[in-house]
């Protein structure tokens, strides 16, 4: 059978592979190469070694963005997952109106980051102006504003995954725990959570990588104001690239560092949570 399929290599493989080359492989390799170059266009690149990387680390805004993004990713990771898990628990209790609630909680997830950013900008500024404050004046407001926005957007999504996970827990396991006299707390920590580890792995993986990659929401809600204090990594890279002439190489070097960071964190996170999964 393999042989027969192999003959159709061009039909099955070529379209995706060609697009994959254009849309990912070539740009990726060129991107790595250009991070060691000084350039304004691809043609005039000259090799400069690690200079761009040194400049990237010498840039305070980049280092600040790194810390800010990390803090944001961790805080949003915890809040999103705890809240989503609680909602999922509540929505699997067969309460009246569950379907409507689920519909509403999931909805913000379908709205794009740019649109969300402007929706919340109006709301936050409306509230803050009552106290003579504004979102782009204080990095703290920008930080918590973005956290609230991202929670609003992503809780529903994670909740759906947790609900799916909760529904796969066999009822007999729960019943057995009940018969053994386990308290609600014990049932949660000894039975539910361990059984839920696969869902938790996925949700934490998604929320931490989303947190690190956040761009649209950051751009539209605060735009990095005040003075780059709420600028996250992705936006910092974009700004380095496109609003400063002569810094393209530095921008690309930052992008490579950003990529390594995201991959590293993703792997680390998978390793940590996968090790806690029970073999079923």
């Amino acid at each position: 059978m393999e042989k027969a399929i192999k003959r159709y290599f061009p039909l099955f493989i070529i379209p995706t592979l060609a697009a994959f080359l254009i849309g990912f492989i070539i740009p990726f390799i060129m991107g790595v190469w250009l991070s060691f170059c000084e350039f304004t266009t691809v043609q005039d690149a000259t090799f400069v070694g690690f200079k761009n990387y040194l400049l990237a680390f010498a840039d305070e805004t980049f280092v600040h963005a790194l810390g800010f993004t990390a803090l944001f990713a961790v805080v949003s990771l915890v809040l999103i997952n705890v809240l989503a898990f609680m909602l999922a628990m509540a929505l699997t209790k067969k309460l009246a109106g569950t379907n409507i609630f689920r519909t509403i909680f999931f909805m913000p997830n379908l709205i794009g980051g740019i649109v969300l950013g402007y929706i919340w900008q109006l709301i936050f500024n409306g509230i803050l102006s009552q106290f003579d404050l504004a979102l782009n004046l204080n990095a703290k407001f920008g930080f918590w504003g973005t956290v609230i926005l991202v929670c609003w957007q992503q809780i529903g999504y994670m909740m759906i995954i947790y609900i799916a996970g909760l529904q796969t827990i066999p009822t007999d396991v729960m019943e057995a725990a009940n018969i053994d006299g386990a308290s609600g707390r014990q049932r949660l920590f000894r039975v539910t959570l361990p059984m839920m580890m696969p869902s938790i792995t996925i949700c934490t993986f998604l929320s931490i990588t989303n947190g690190f990659k956040l761009f649209d929401q950051n751009l539209s809600l605060t735009g990095g104001e005040p003075a780059h204090a709420t600028e996250m990594l992705a936006l910092n890279i974009f700004n380095t690239f496109y609003s400063r002439v002569g810094f393209e190489g530095v921008g690309q070097a930052k992008a490579v560092l950003f990529f390594l960071l995201v991959v590293g964190i993703g792997l680390l996170q998978l390793r940590l949570t996968r090790s806690k999964e029970v073999q079923q």
């Binding site: 190469w33 304004t40 979102l135 005040p226 609003s243 792997l267």
Partner: protein, 444 residues
């Protein structure tokens, strides 16, 4: 077990990618090398016959007029002219992403010597163009050595536009305001009586991106102008900030005597300020000749302009701020046909009746070309009167500001100061230290 496999997968993927990057560099480089050779004939092939014009416009206020003019030109000559207007504050970003494309702008603009330094590789030498021959004075050419890299297309003037009727209602006329002290006295008096008068002194000094350039760039020109004048220089790699106290004084005056509480300025937009001025909620509005169309409803006779006084010595003879930061540059990397088409279009703009009418009347520009028409824009006439009366115009020195980044950082510092979340020191740091830092970063 599962974890191990996953880890192995990840590691393998990274190794593979590394190997691919290493051994893939040969095919990749031939790939990029072959790109120009295949793309070049294609693009010249497409350009057979007439060239095309693609203008990346800087001035959002005149977007509609440019679109109309482009359409008129296409109808008359059949040459395709596309105009894209960058969002305000986004010109540099848009230019950078557009110029890298195969269909790059054939016509763009730089804001003076600093902008030219970044873009000079893209500037076609205009010294032998007909357009250059139309310039009314050589001082409006932006030169890079002997090369004419850019040509100014509009001379503009800004100051404090005021509502004559309202100022009279408050009991003053323009003659009462001859220096910063007078301005301060009048503004503070209006603020004190604003409840009874029903209006404020200044429109909101909005620090939203659509309005903040009025302060981080235009207002900041004054301390720079006086410092350059005192030191007898025309640009610098390190500003001293000798007139920053004056900058603080005028900024304080603006934010404490406006329609809006200082803390709320950060979200105020350009539209808000226009609305306040047009609905007679404020007397003073810092802006320039380009803003005329927005405020024309108040009536031409009702509009006046004051110099921006900051309390520097000898300011009684200070006029309005007149200059240009708008230089047309033709993209030297465009195809020959496109360059020629662009030059033809520009020549038509500044010589034909339709072109000059559009520029001078519809857009309200004063153009530094022989074909300039008498102004219908009353703000332009006011600025001419100042010069005729012997006032010294303030030159536009903000074209020597080291970078866009510098302006943005200054803007953030001004916003923070206005809101009370940071001190004036922040503005001083952004202004003085930021200048040296940005100058070094940009000029290597």
């Amino acid at each position: 077990m599962k974890m191990k496999r996953l880890l192995a997968t990840g590691l393998a993927a990274m190794l593979m990618a590394g190997a691919l990057a290493a051994c893939g560099s040969t095919p990749a480089s031939t790939g990029t090398a072959s790109t120009p050779s295949t793309a070049a004939p294609a693009s010249t092939g497409a350009a057979v016959g007439d060239g095309k014009v693609y203008y990346l416009n800087f001035k959002p206020e005149q977007d509609e007029q440019w679109q109309a003019l482009a359409k008129a030109y296409t109808e008359e000559t059949g040459v395709e002219v596309t105009v894209l207007t960058a969002a305000s504050g986004q010109y540099e970003t848009t230019l950078k992403s557009e110029i890298a494309k195969t269909e790059a702008p054939t016509l763009f603009q730089v804001n003076g010597p600093v902008g030219l330094a970044s873009w000079k590789d893209y500037c076609y030498d205009l010294s032998s163009s007909q357009l250059y021959g139309e310039l009314s004075s050589d001082e409006f050419a932006l030169k890079d050595g002997d090369k004419v890299a850019g040509i100014a297309y509009v001379i503009e003037t800004y100051g404090i536009i005021y509502n004559k009727g309202l100022l009279e209602k408050a009991g003053y006329t323009q003659d009462d305001i001859k220096n910063f002290e007078d301005l301060k006295k009048v503004a503070e008096d209006i603020t004190a009586r604003s409840g009874e008068l029903g209006f404020s002194a200044f429109t909101s000094a909005g620090m939203d991106g659509s309005s903040d350039w009025r302060f981080k760039t235009h207002l900041a020109n004054l301390p720079i102008y006086y410092e350059y004048k005192a030191d007898g220089i025309s640009s610098t790699d390190a500003i001293k900030g000798s007139y920053l106290d004056n900058y603080k004084a005028i900024w304080d005056l603006y934010i404490n005597n406006s329609t809006t509480k200082p803390a709320l300025l950060s979200t105020k937009t350009g539209d808000d300020a226009v609305a306040e001025f047009v609905t007679e909620q404020a007397v003073f509005y810092q802006n320039g000749t380009w803003a005329y169309n927005d405020i024309a409803d108040l009536g031409d006779d009702n509009l006046g302009m004051l110099p921006i006084y900051i309390g520097a010595e000898g300011e009684e003879k200070q006029g309005l701020c007149t200059g240009t930061e708008n230089y047309w540059c033709v993209n030297s990397k465009a195809s020959e046909e496109d360059i020629q088409a662009t030059l033809d279009f520009l020549y038509w703009c500044v010589t034909s009746e339709e072109g000059t009418t559009a520029l001078c009347t519809d857009m309200g520009f004063v153009i530094p070309f022989k074909g300039n028409l008498p102004a219908t824009n009353p703000l332009v006439n006011i600025s001419n009167d100042y010069i005729a009366d012997g006032y010294t115009p303030v030159s536009w020195n903000f074209t020597t500001m080291p970078s866009e980044q510098w302006k943005n950082d200054l803007g953030s510092a001004l916003t923070g100061y206005a809101a009370g979340t940071s001190q004036w020191d922040g503005v001083v740091t952004a202004f003085v230290d930021g200048w040296a830092k940005e100058y070094a970063a940009v000029n290597g």
